[in-house]
């Protein structure tokens, strides 16, 4: 079986996902184009050299609809022979796009493929693509549908994470992210978003709040308690896990992932393709896996998929130098750390989505890149990247430097 190598990766800065965010004026197409164009330029890819572009977009409607991957590829000047496909596995779409790209190469059918993702949350809006899951009683009821924040609070309740625990984690995320920017750890892979004149619109992540403290977070009210009580989700949470007397609402905007705009992409290829285009492989895809997990708790999929991945790959915790788990909510990470007894110094070492934001479809590709840069910076070998997913799923990928 051919190996899939990672040759390069880039991401845009993450803009605050609101009308006053810097990237709000940038169309979804323009946003998705940025990392593709950058990969082409940085790696001197000839026209029509890429076999496919797989892009994760969670709400592919409106301007982000109708297979934006093809049009972003065209817009990026990759050449008219370069096709594109848009995929969604909710929050893991960006990582799945990388895995799908890798699979094309590992199956020997394609040589050079880009996997990535783009989400313009300020323009399209979370949930804009609708769907049966929350709406159709035949699914919402048996699947115990509840908004993810409530599932996150349920995790905190069941596994015993207090408000202080989740807030402390959030403060750490902010501090780590700020330090990484200060030390220039992201510089290599973040490409600015520019306007039609080449003027910079955004060069740095703008969701961060490096001055966050336990005291400042303590001011914030839990985000989901009122809605859960009014709209019945309280009862859904308890019926899904009747050992819980009441849900301890601990999550708020400060310890949950930020809503942001952003795009990222990873260039993958076979050994031969790299040689042909004079590219130096930086890592290879060692293994990846997907899994469905308990849908009510919803966000514990990373635990299940990691177990599956360890079993399938014959690897174990001690083989992994760094873990990168999307910080959808603080409790998701705390539960993962608890389940595998992971050293805090080995996970999300450059901060995560709590500080930097979570542009849904793009995040998976972005954090895979972040952890690869970190492996290189600290001269380590192996990293495991994983994300929790709506509806109760998990995606995980192990990469290894070469």
């Amino acid at each position: 079986m051919p190996e899939a190598y990672i040759y390069d990766h880039v991401r845009t800065p993450r803009g605050r996902g609101k009308a006053d965010g810097a990237l709000h004026e940038v169309t979804a197409l323009a946003l998705a184009t940025v990392p593709l164009k950058s990969l082409k330029e940085r790696n001197n890819l000839p026209e029509n050299s890429v076999d496919d572009v797989v892009l994760g977009v969670v709400d592919p409607v409106g301007e982000a609809g109708s297979d934006i991957a093809r049009f972003a590829a065209l817009n990026a000047g990759l050449g008219e022979k370069v096709p594109g496909v848009q995929i969604s596995r909710f929050c893991a779409s960006g990582l799945d796009a990388v895995n799908f790209a890798a699979a094309q190469i590992m199956s020997g059918q394609h040589e050079l493929v880009i996997g990535g993702g783009a989400e313009s949350m300020s323009r399209v809006g979370i949930g804009a693509s609708g769907g049966a899951w929350p709406m159709d009683p035949s699914m919402a009821v048996p699947a115990y549908f509840m908004p993810q924040g409530i599932s996150a609070d349920l995790i905190a309740t069941k596994y015993g994470f207090s408000r202080d625990d989740v807030d402390a984690y959030a403060v750490q995320s902010q501090q780590r992210a700020a330090k990484s920017w200060d030390e220039g750890r992201f510089n290599k892979s973040v490409v600015p978003v520019k306007d039609v004149n080449g003027l910079t619109i955004l060069a740095k992540d703008e969701h961060m709040r490096p001055t966050t403290t336990m005291q400042s977070l303590a001011q914030l009210q839990p985000s989901f308690a009122a809605m859960a009580a009014m709209a019945g989700f309280d009862a859904v949470a308890i019926q899904s896990h009747p050992e819980v007397e009441k849900v301890n609402y601990v999550h708020h905007a400060g310890n949950s992932s930020g809503i942001v705009d952003g795009a990222g992409a990873v260039l993958l290829g076979s050994k031969e393709a790299g040689a042909k285009h004079g590219l130096k492989p930086r890592a290879k895809i060692r293994a990846f896996a997907n899994i469905g997990s308990e849908p009510a708790m919803m966000l514990t999929g990373p635990v299940d998929v990691t177990e599956k991945l360890f079993e399938r790959s014959g690897m174990k915790k001690s083989d992994i130098d760094l873990f990168e788990l999307n910080e959808a909510f603080a409790s998701v990470v705390l539960r993962y750390i608890q389940a595998f007894d992971i050293d805090n110094a080995k996970i999300n070492v450059n901060g995560g989505a709590i500080a930097l934001g979570h542009p849904l479809g793009a995040t998976g590709a972005m954090i895979l890149g972040t952890v690869l840069d970190e492996l290189e910076r600290t001269n380590k070998e192996t990293a495991l990247v994983t994300l929790c997913i709506g509806g109760g799923m998990g995606t995980a990928t192990i990469i290894e430097r070469v």
Partner: protein, 737 residues
């Protein structure tokens, strides 16, 4: 053309007046003849060019009370027959086609091309309301008693003749869900405000107003058949819809624990139907209706909550030979909380009540209770001052036992203490007037043992009310071995007069209801001692369909009272008659921890002061558990089943013991008396619908794991071996309607 159930007159303007008037019935219902004749009337009026429009009204006080549910029994029989002969698919197809006849009829009204007006003269419920929704115009006669609504959900069904489609096309999704899922009827003011009806006119002008609408160039097209029709709540996949449906699904689960297929079907009908044009939407509604008709929940609920309850209310157990009795004056001895409440509900039903207690102050306190109740209702706008005054005027309070000689019925509600009761009987007995009946409201002491204090045991009976009396609809009537027919008839007539549902049981410790409830409560305690997390005990009980968790229920009853009963039972019957481990638990709670339940603010729960948050489980419970089990290793399904099985197997024992002699009473009694999962149809129907064999197998599995409280009685073993059901083996006597 002449019809049996309708008068049909065409006036000079060519307007047909269809007047519903089923001969020999006080109410119009959709029975077989009415359904068929409505179909013919639609055909006739549609094809006859001389007819310009149709007004449908009723000659009864009400417009129509809905469908005749016994009609469904016939449909079920032909379904079972066809299933046997031609298989499930053919049977389903038949049921689908048959059960949508009304829906198709109503749609034919809507698309007849001729204006139809519903002249709603009074109450219109269920199918009776649905037919009006298919008319192009709805005008109602002013009438404070008129209620419009779709109560099908209360018997496990849903409005399957267009109700789930037309209502949310007329009113907002939130209002539609209220009407459909709660089944609560609305008055005309509310109906008009909701846009469910077009106009309200003085009763005398009803038909004229209806005809005027036709003559005034009315349009015979439903709004949803017009181009550009917009749903009141916007499209399903719109911002509003995306707020409404996820919350609607969650609230559905909160209210039903997903135990009611009909309620889930309503949600699906609305969600799917609003994305479709009306004809396809009605077809989808019919598909779900067929599915719900096939559900055991619908069958069980119709049988217990409609048919059996109606039969019991009509006096199914009344001895035929006794002429009707009427309690004009009632004495209640013991004006405590229970006695005062019994007095209040009796006075409310027009009976003169005298509350008797050992001193005037105590008796007055009982009357004060009635005052508190009516004041509360007046404050909520649910009672008028005159009505309240009339009720209070019927209640007197005294310490003088001599008033007993004026009373037709005496109910004793003094302390649950043999001595106190014996003293009361000794004082009251000589004063009883001839023909008067004496009843005890005891809940814990066997009636036969109390009857011994009575000279004329034929007059002595148990009338056991449930607390809170104002709300609880069940009354358990307990026969002593010498209780006479007149006593029984008087008790039944009295219970009927106060608008409650009676069940008649033979004497036994705990009678019927409390015997089962005690099993429920102790199962909760067993789980606690096993190490099940307390919240999981409470939540799985509610998920099983019980209204209150077993720990919470004990707090409500009061733990010290529970302990007193346990000790009394032990004193009467010996140490093996009670569970010593559970006794130890309650002794610890009451005697060591001082936790008496809600009444002192601490029991299994901690109760904050009023307005300072909700009760929460006492964290100290963990220390009373010998060990703690990991909830992830426990089966929620099994915990739920244990709660229902332990009660059902006790109910089966009451049949074997002849405490229960009519299976309907166990079912209705279990639902009304202690809230046994209503969707099962009651404690015996739960067994019948599970299949006796399956139930016995489950009992044995639990017996092995948890002990002899699950051991099925011989009767059940025998029934399982023969493949019998309770309703098959003990068919209830059907009364002439």
């Amino acid at each position: 053309m002449a019809y049996k159930n309708f008068k049909f007159d065409v006036d000079a303007d060519g307007i047909a007046l269809v007047t519903w008037d089923i001969p020999g019935r006080s109410m119009n219902v959709f029975d077989e003849v009415s359904t068929q004749e409505i179909g013919e009337i639609i055909k006739q009026t549609t094809s006859d060019a001389a007819i310009k429009g149709v007004v449908i009204t009723s000659a009864k006080e009400a417009f129509c009370a809905g469908a005749d549910l016994s009609m469904l029994e016939g449909m079920n029989r032909s379904y079972a027959q066809l299933f046997k002969e031609k298989g499930e698919e053919a049977a389903n197809q038949m049921l689908f086609e048959q059960s949508r006849q009304m829906s198709l009829s109503f749609r034919a009204i809507e698309t007849s091309g001729k204006p139809w007006v519903a002249a709603i003269n009074g109450l219109a419920l269920g199918g009776g309301f649905e037919i009006t929704l298919a008319c192009h115009y709805r005008v109602a006669a002013e009438n404070p008693k008129t209620r419009l609504g779709l109560p099908e959900i209360k018997v496990g069904l849903f409005p399957g003749a267009g109700g789930t489609q037309r209502v949310p096309r007329l009113v907002s999704p939130q209002d539609a869900m209220q009407l459909l899922l709660k089944g609560e009827a609305v008055n005309l003011t509310r109906a008009k405000a909701l846009n469910l009806i077009h106009a309200v006119v003085p009763a005398a002008d009803l038909i004229t107003a209806a005809k005027d609408w036709i003559k005034g160039g009315s349009k015979a097209v439903a709004p949803w058949d017009e181009k550009g029709f917009k749903l009141p709540g916007g499209p399903v996949f719109s911002k509003m819809g995306m707020q409404m449906f996820p919350a609607g699904n969650a609230i559905y689960r909160r209210e039903t624990y997903d135990n009611y297929p009909a309620a889930r079907a309503i949600m699906s009908c609305v969600y799917e139907g609003l994305q479709l044009p009306i004809d396809a939407a009605l077809r989808v509604e019919s598909r779900y209706f067929t599915k719900v008709l096939r559900s055991k929940e619908a069958a069980a609920m119709i049988r217990s909550l409609f048919l059996s309850m109606q039969e019991l209310n009509k006096g199914a157990r009344r001895p035929a030979g006794v002429p009707p009795t009427k309690v004009k004056k009632l004495a209640v001895i013991g004006a405590g909380f229970m006695g005062a409440s019994v007095g209040y509900v009796s006075a409310q039903a027009g009976i003169d009540v005298v509350l008797v207690d050992r001193d005037q102050e105590s008796a007055d306190k009982g009357k004060g209770h009635a005052k508190t109740v009516v004041d509360g209702l007046i404050a909520k706008g649910r009672m008028k001052q005159e009505a309240a005054d009339a009720i209070l005027a019927r209640i007197s309070a005294t310490a003088d036992y001599n008033v007993i000689s004026e009373c037709d019925l005496v109910i004793e509600a003094v302390f649950e203490d043999r001595k106190v009761k014996a003293d009361t009987y000794a004082k009251a007995q000589p004063l009883l007037k001839s023909g008067a009946i004496f009843a005890s409201n005891t809940s814990t002491l066997p009636i036969n043992s109390l009857a011994e204090e009575f000279k004329d045991q034929g007059k002595f009976i148990g009338i056991h009310f449930f607390s809170p009396v104002e709300k609880m609809m069940l009354v358990e009537i307990i026969l002593g071995k010498n209780t006479g027919d007149v006593a029984l008839a008087t008790a039944l007539d009295y219970v009927r007069a106060i608008g409650k549902t009676p069940i008649v049981v033979n004497d036994s410790r705990g009678f019927f209801a409390n015997r089962c409830v005690m099993r429920y409560i102790s199962e909760g305690n067993e789980m606690l001692l096993e190490g099940v997390p307390p919240a999981m005990i409470e939540n799985t009980a509610k998920m099983a369909g019980m209204p209150v968790g077993p720990l919470s229920l004990q707090d409500e009853v009061a733990l010290d009272l529970g302990l007193k009963i346990t000790k009394a039972t032990e004193a009467d019957l010996g140490p093996n008659a009670i569970d010593q481990a559970q006794k130890k638990l309650i002794v610890e709670m009451v005697e060591k921890q001082g936790r008496f339940g809600r009444k002192n603010g601490k029991g299994f729960y901690d109760y904050p002061e009023k307005g300072k948050g909700q009760k929460s489980l006492w964290p100290g419970l963990a220390d009373l558990q010998p060990k703690q089990l990991d909830p992830d290793t426990l089966s929620v399904e099994e915990l739920k089943q244990r709660f229902l099985v332990v009660q059902a197997v006790e109910a089966a024992r009451t049949v074997e013991d002849h405490v229960i002699t009519d299976v309907r009473e166990a079912d209705v009694g279990s639902i009304l008396g202690f809230g046994f999962a209503p969707f099962t149809g009651g404690a015996l129907s739960y067994i019948d619908f599970m299949g006796t064999k399956n139930f016995v197998a489950l009992c044995h599995a639990f017996e092995k794991k948890y002990g002899s409280r699950f051991t099925p009685p011989k009767l059940l073993e025998e029934m399982a071996a023969k493949g019998e059901t309770f309703y098959g083996r003990f068919p209830p006597k059907k009364q002439a309607a």
